[in-house]
Symmetry: C2
Subunit: 399 residues, 2 copies
């Protein structure tokens, strides 16, 4: 076969997700990985899994293994509707669509919304997995200016006024990769801009429940319900391997997402949806979430302390109130890809921040550090090693 002409135009944009490639490298034994975006297996409620599977088999029998509705296993849609009320999101179970991870929701949205060349506005930096889902539909990305408190509303407004934007994509709470959270004031400003300009926001919120300090903020969805598709996931509060995500979208977007999902995977695993509905309805999440927080909070605090101890003074980093990541910014001129290569030699991996920008040349001096996968002493050791590599790099550059 002539493979030159075999592939679709869009494949030129479908490069490997850099992080997934990095994760392959770092799965070597002995490597300390600050690279993943992966929950600790200690956070999974393993002690109830046998009980949950037993409950599902008893309650639903063979129907948990049968083909099911594309929009979701009805008990899970209901459980999610109730769960979302705690975030002040008012969504009838019919307004909730279950997706195969939040990835499946982003894919469906890209499919129904983006024609080639359509502009999509994203944070700088932004979540890489969203780009992987949207790239096949050949959008053009516009970067919204961002500081430690999330996007600048005036930058968003300027972009929306400059020309048509299909949608805005934000991860406003404990953002991947920065850990940053959009302030309440800015959420209100963003909601106002969306309404005034008649624009659509895709609000991705996989980390919102992982709050270690401070007060929960309302999702932007609650401030401009008709202008926001809210995308979430049980991957960080139940188990990522079950691939259960969900979305709440205004009509007719929800209906089109269901049609897209018919083609994407027909429906999400019935059995896993039944497990998730038992998990939510059984009140297990309410008991389990404080345990996850007790697990992660000291890890995050330890990493913040280690950064203060081991990183040069001119470095800055985020101090998120939750989530899974700390974002480190070195001085301009640093090349974190080189640092990455040297750090891996010394047994520590992280993700160079440049991969989270849509514009080439941005973010060379940044890094994303994850703290969920290692214990406190290991985190301190890893940060010390990274600090050493960075100091050597600087001395090398000066000599």
């Amino acid at each position: 076969m002539n493979t030159e002409t075999l592939f679709a135009h869009r494949t030129r944009l479908m490069s490997a997700n850099a992080i997934r490639e990095i994760l392959k490298v770092v799965s070597k034994p002995g490597m300390i990985s600050l690279a993943g975006g992966i929950p600790s297996p200690d956070s999974f409620p393993m002690e109830i899994m046998q009980e949950l599977t037993g409950k599902v088999l008893h309650k639903y029998g063979s129907s948990a293994f049968q083909y099911d509705r594309t929009e979701g296993f009805e008990p899970l849609n209901e459980a999610l509707s109730i769960y979302l009320q705690k975030k002040a999101i008012q969504a009838d179970s019919k307004e909730v669509i279950v997706t195969s991870g939040s990835q499946g929701g982003l894919m469906a949205l890209g499919m129904v919304l983006i024609s080639r060349g359509d502009r999509v506005a994203v944070e700088s930096p932004t979540y890489l997995g969203a780009l992987t889902a949207l790239n096949p539909f050949e959008p053009e990305y516009v970067q919204i200016e961002t500081d430690g408190d999330g996007i600048l509303p005036e930058s968003l407004e300027a972009i929306l006024k400059a020309g048509p934007v299909k949608f805005v994509y934000l991860n406003p709470t404990f953002q991947n990769p920065t850990g940053r959270t959009l302030t309440l004031e800015r959420r209100q400003a963003v909601a106002g801009i969306l309404k005034r300009t008649g624009s659509l926001l895709v609000e991705d919120d996989p980390y919102g429940d992982l709050r270690y300090r401070g007060t929960a903020l309302p999702p932007v969805k609650t401030l401009a319900p008709d202008n926001v598709v809210y995308v979430g996931s049980l991957s960080k509060v139940f188990a990522p391997g079950l691939r259960i995500g969900y979305a709440v979208a205004p009509e007719p977007i929800r209906r089109w997402m269901v049609l897209a999902k018919q083609g994407i995977d027909l429906h999400t695993s019935t059995f896993n949806q039944a497990l998730a509905s038992e998990y939510l309805f059984g009140g297990y999440l309410d008991k389990h979430l404080p345990e996850i927080i007790r697990l992660y909070k000291p890890k995050q605090e330890a990493m913040l302390v280690s950064l203060s101890k081991h990183f040069p003074r001119e470095y800055r980093w985020s101090r998120p109130e939750g989530g899974m990541f700390i974002w480190v910014e070195g001085p301009k001129g640093m090349d974190m890809e080189t640092v990455y290569a040297k750090a891996v030699e010394k047994g520590v991996a992280f993700v160079p921040g440049k991969f989270f920008f849509t514009r080439d040349g941005d973010g060379n001096e940044t890094m994303r550090l994850n703290y969920t996968m290692s214990d406190v002493p290991t985190l301190d050791r890893a940060v010390r090693i990274l600090g050493g590599v960075i100091k050597n790099f600087n001395e090398g550059a000066q000599s």
Copy 2:
């Protein structure tokens, strides 16, 4: 929001899967459905599900609930490699990609292969779910001429010679919707044409294991391995609700499918893949498959007898050696959509065959009947009622 300009161009092609819509109508209590393509829940190995989940929890623990490789849970890739050898398909575990149902495999293929306007050659009639997966990428379909033994190789050759075709899509064994099987001679002819013309075939084979009579035929994949992407599923031999499909594709198509799948759903449920690998490695399928066949064979035979008893003489239907469907062709001029409406009033549903053709106006006189979901007396009653509706329709037309 202005929903006129909100959606992508491609959505005009993404109409609802007609069958999924019909299935919603027929889920009413008391309705006898010959409409589904759904395995009987009696075919699921429910008696071993608790045992399988216990095994997975014991053997893999939390790693069965963690993020995993996009290409598949390694033990399942290995189990599938061995399973495929029984079909004479030689594929190393690295050559197998696990997908979220065969739907997920077709979606990934559409994504990496089809640019807008590319031609894709399909059977007439063809499997509707494949069109649902491919439509978002805006192909143009070309219908290959078909008779009771599957496609006519000379029609395929003429199409491939007439102009570029991205790929050919066939369901050569117990086809959905007709139940037809491509003969060995034609398989060899098709393989020869693919090789001579350097063309790509997507061979969809979800029903191949459900053989009630006759001798197994080699997949086209075994006759032209470099020219065929083989797509399969455990939905008909384990449990559809677990959403486990797979594909064997020549490089570099396999690699691009993995990249597409990173965007589509990151990976298929780890837990469900672990269940499937235990099912295959534990030898359960070998024990279970004869039971499924014992369940379906008498149903199919009963439906064939009922058709002879209750349908007018001028009607013809397929007599498949396996699978889940019988295809009925009435005389030209019959309108099976009207028959459908009247049959539903009398409590029997089926799928009008026109939905399986890519060209408007084709197949108005055809119907797809499924026999897996009802018992023998119910099947006879349903066919009798359908026969009555058809006879009334004919008398109405003559008066």
